[in-house]
Amino acid sequence: MNGLTFDIAHLLAGSLVLISFMMLYQDRLFALINVFALHAVVLALSVAWQAYIQDAHHLYITAAIALVFKAIVIPVGLHRIIQRLGIHRDIETAVGIGPTMLAGIGLVTLSMVLMLRVTPEADPLAREDLAFALSIILLGLLVMVTRRNAVSQVVGFMSLENGLVLAATGAKGMPLVVEISVAFSILIAFIVIGVFLFRIRERFDSVDIGALDDYRGERR
């Protein structure tokens, strides 16, 4: 493994983490979706780079899937959903941006410490990749937890999936089947959640999931 390939892989994975942080402080839905599209583009680049350095051609397909679906189809679809729902002006975060960022930094530290400790013998590239992937997964969860709006929770969920794809491609010899299934699961989740959003909307005139809680007669 020469220095340049490692550095580029490291750079791309690191940028994914950085973009996950960017998602944390977006308080407009359109901006959030744009950042997510960027996330998917960088993921596609990272996967393509992995395909190049591992000489694994099937990973190019994974990269293409990521680019087409996650960077183009899903963001465009979500844009249309938001416009149809008329919620593009909503500002929503459940927790303040400062504490969220601090928590995110803590999570990244945790995943670094953990992954570097439990995988001392692994290939250094795979180690770094796994550590970054865990950070992205945790940050995706954090996005889901700190948002009230169902759309942004969907975005958080999909960025979490991006972390999974990164982890899967970082390790050598993961068969294509896995990645395709991951991609499809995201697509299906997107469709299901999209349908679900409209159902909620029809019922409550809002996609703020707080409305569900109000419906159940619960305090928040």
């Binding site: 945790l138 937890v145 948002r147």
Partner: protein
């Protein structure tokens, strides 16, 4: 696959086929006859096969069926121990089916009993045959659930529903303990076959944990104090022939589980394991029979008396463990044989007594002894066989109860040879407890027989009672004959048990059938011997002579009584001795610590017109000490955790997220 094991495995399959048939046909009029007839035949075949194996070829035979867990299959095995318990189970099954042919006709809801009855028999047979932890636990649970369904047969009754609920909770608790015990025995390699467990000896800590878990798991099914709480509720709730199976047979299957693990799979025992089992057995015996004495419901009295007998058996098993641990195989063989002999005997007389209680229930519709009385005139045959059951369970010669309890005491008398001082002190103390429980058992069954069958009728139902059908009487008569036969031919039983004791404790009792005049000599002629036949002949002759003299001379003698007294001291049947008044002296002696009982006398002032009242307050101490705190804690925790059910989606996500982060933190900080 061995043909004997194949035949024995066909039995449970046939039972299950009968279950399916019964589920389909249970509403037909002939279903009762059909189902009990089928189980009678199947049990008899299984009994003959198992008895043939026990008597003829003491070897082992095993079989693996491609069922159950993938790649492992279900293993079954037949050796001396399982053959003996198969005899107990199927002898009980045969006679209970015979009884069921008659008793089942009075069943108001046959479709709730018939399908589960063969399933219950199948479960018990499979437990005894199982040779790996998975099939054992599966059959065990099957047995528990089938018997639970039978307990819930009359579920409209609130008390039965409560009994079923407590039984279900305790059965799952017991199975959990068994699961953990087998997990410890399987070790990290996860070898669930008994053959592998037998060769892998766990360390002392693991062995101790397995012993405790087995006492919890098998003990809760058998009814050891303080895990007995479900037993006096559930056993009487089922129809009487099922009560007989549960009390007489299922508790024995639990003992089989304990013996299989502790004597067979666990390897060499530590000496203190004997102490634990001995003490629990002694306490169980005394508390069980004290509870039985206080009871006035006939079937619950019998259920409590089962607890006492289980205590005796466990005390004897504990003694065998202590002897085995100290390298005294002949004494261990004596104690172990005594335990198994008592297992067989208890299955005879407890089934007999439950059948008798069922006959009384059929004839009068009453289980409460305070409403019975004088039944000896209405049910002469039932009362005669019930009397034989009472005499046997009270351990009076020449019946079988005496023979096995005498063997237990012979084993206790060898305790001075034990090296540990702890055992030297504890064994005689437990012996004292067993002697006390034997005496109390006699008092208890004097009460059970006297209040139920003697005296005068206490309710109108008794006066209308008729003798029960011939099937039931035949079943009871067969059991009564077995009680007598096992009492006067104990040597035959002891010799048959030698193939069971030899592999498990490494020694057998001396050959008894070679002794002259059917005597049994457990240790040496110089120490003790017992001849049931001689005692029987002596009792028969002396009793006949006494009866002859009384009838010849006393009956014809002139008797005088007060005028207008009609020969009775008191004209009101309610003025007779009652069950509670009979037990009062014993309650006064033991009630203080065993039941925390209190008596208050409410005496009105002179001249006042209200009646005086005697109030007795009794507590079930085991229930209050062990069960109430646990149920209280569970209620408290569920109350506190209840609001977790109504969180928002985001909060749930947050909880999952926090939990994940905490787990990762633990992983990161773990040294």
């Amino acid at each position: 696959m061995n043909s004997t094991v194949a035949l024995l495995l066909c039995g449970p399959a046939a039972f299950l086929a009968t279950t399916i048939m019964a589920a389909g046909a249970s509403r037909l009029a002939a279903a009762t006859r059909l189902v009990y007839g089928a189980t009678l035949v199947i049990s008899a075949v299984l009994l003959a096969t198992a008895a043939g194996h026990l008597a003829g070829n003491p070897g082992e035979a095993s079989a693996t069926l491609p069922l159950g867990l993938p790649w492992t299959g279900a293993r079954f095995r037949l050796d001396g121990l399982s053959a003996f318990f198969l005899v107990v189970v199927n002898l009980g099954g045969t006679i209970t089916s015979l009884y069921g042919l008659g008793y089942g006709r009075h069943e108001s809801l046959p479709h709730r009993v018939l399908p589960f009855y063969p399933a219950f028999l199948a479960g018990m047979n499979l437990v005894v045959l199982a040779n790996d932890a998975f099939s054992f636990l599966l059959s065990w649970e099957f047995m528990s659930l089938a018997s639970w369904a039978l307990v819930m047969a009359h579920h409209r009754d609130e008390a039965n529903r409560r009994a079923g609920y407590i039984y279900l909770v305790m059965a799952s608790f017991g199975t959990m303990a068994l699961l953990l015990a087998f997990g410890l025995l399987a070790g990290p390699a996860g070898t669930y076959a008994f053959d592998a467990m037998r060769t892998a000896h766990p360390g002392p800590f693991a062995a101790g944990a397995v012993l405790v878990l087995m006492l919890l798991g098998a003990g809760s099914k058998a009814g050891l104090v303080p895990l007995h709480a479900w037993l006096p509720l559930a056993h009487p709730a089922a129809p009487s022939h099922v009560s007989a199976l549960m009390s007489g047979i299922m508790t024995k299957v639990a003992i089989y589980g304990f013996v299989r693990v502790v004597f067979d799979l666990l390897g060499e025992p530590a000496w203190w394991s004997g102490v634990a089992v001995l003490l629990i057995g002694g306490v169980t015996a005394v508390l069980g029979i004290l509870h039985a004495l206080m009871e006035k419901d006939l079937k619950r009295l019998l259920a409590y008396s089962t607890i006492e007998n289980i205590g005796v058996i466990f005390a004897s098993l504990g003694l065998a463990l202590a002897f085995k641990a100290n390298g005294m195989p002949s004494a261990a063989a004596l104690a172990f044989t005594a335990a198994l002999f008592h297992v067989l005997n208890h299955s005879f007389f407890k089934s007999l007594l439950f059948f008798g209680a069922g006959a009384v229930l059929t004839a009068t519709g009453e289980r409460d002894m305070e409403k019975l009385g004088g039944l000896i005139h209405r049910l002469p045959v039932t009362s005669f066989v019930f009397l034989i059951g009472c005499v046997s369970i009270s351990a009076l010669p020449p019946f079988n109860g005496f023979a096995s309890e005498w063997l237990v005491f012979q084993a206790i008398l060898r305790s001075p040879e034990l090296p540990q001082w702890g055992l030297k002190v504890i064994v005689p103390a437990v012996g004292g407890m067993l002697a006390l429980s034997a005496a109390l058992a006699a008092a208890c069954f004097v009460k059970a027989f006297g209040i139920t069958f003697l005296g005068r009728a206490r309710s109108a139902a008794v006066e209308r009672a008729h003798e029960v059908d011939r099937w039931s009487l035949a079943a009871m008569a067969v059991l009564a004959a077995f009680c007598l036969l096992a009492g006067i031919l104990p040597g035959f039983v002891i010799d048959s048990l030698s193939t069971v004791t030899l592999p498990l404790v490494g020694e057998r009792m001396p050959v008894q059938m070679a002794q002259p005049w059917l005597s049994i000599v457990p240790i040496a002629e110089s120490r003790s011997s017992y001849n049931g036949l001689l005692v029987f002949v002596f009792i028969t002759i002396s009793a006949s002579l006494a009866a002859f003299f009384i009838h010849r001379f006393a009956s014809h003698a002139l008797r005088r009584d007060i005028a207008w007294g009609c020969g009775f001291p008191d004209a009101v049947p309610a003025g007779q001795y009652t069950a509670v008044s009979f037990a009062q002296p014993i309650r006064r002696v033991f009630g203080g610590f065993a039941f925390r009982s209190r008596e208050t006398v409410d005496m009105p002032a002179p001249g006042a017109l209200e009646p005086a009242r005697l109030k007795v307050e009794m507590h079930d101490v085991a229930w209050e000490i062990f069960y109430q705190p646990i149920t209280g804690a569970i209620d408290f925790a569920t109350e506190r955790l209840n609001h977790l059910q109504f969180l928002t989606i985001r909060r749930y996500l947050t909880l999952v997220f926090l939990y994940l982060v905490i787990l990762l933190l633990v992983l990161a900080l773990w040294p």
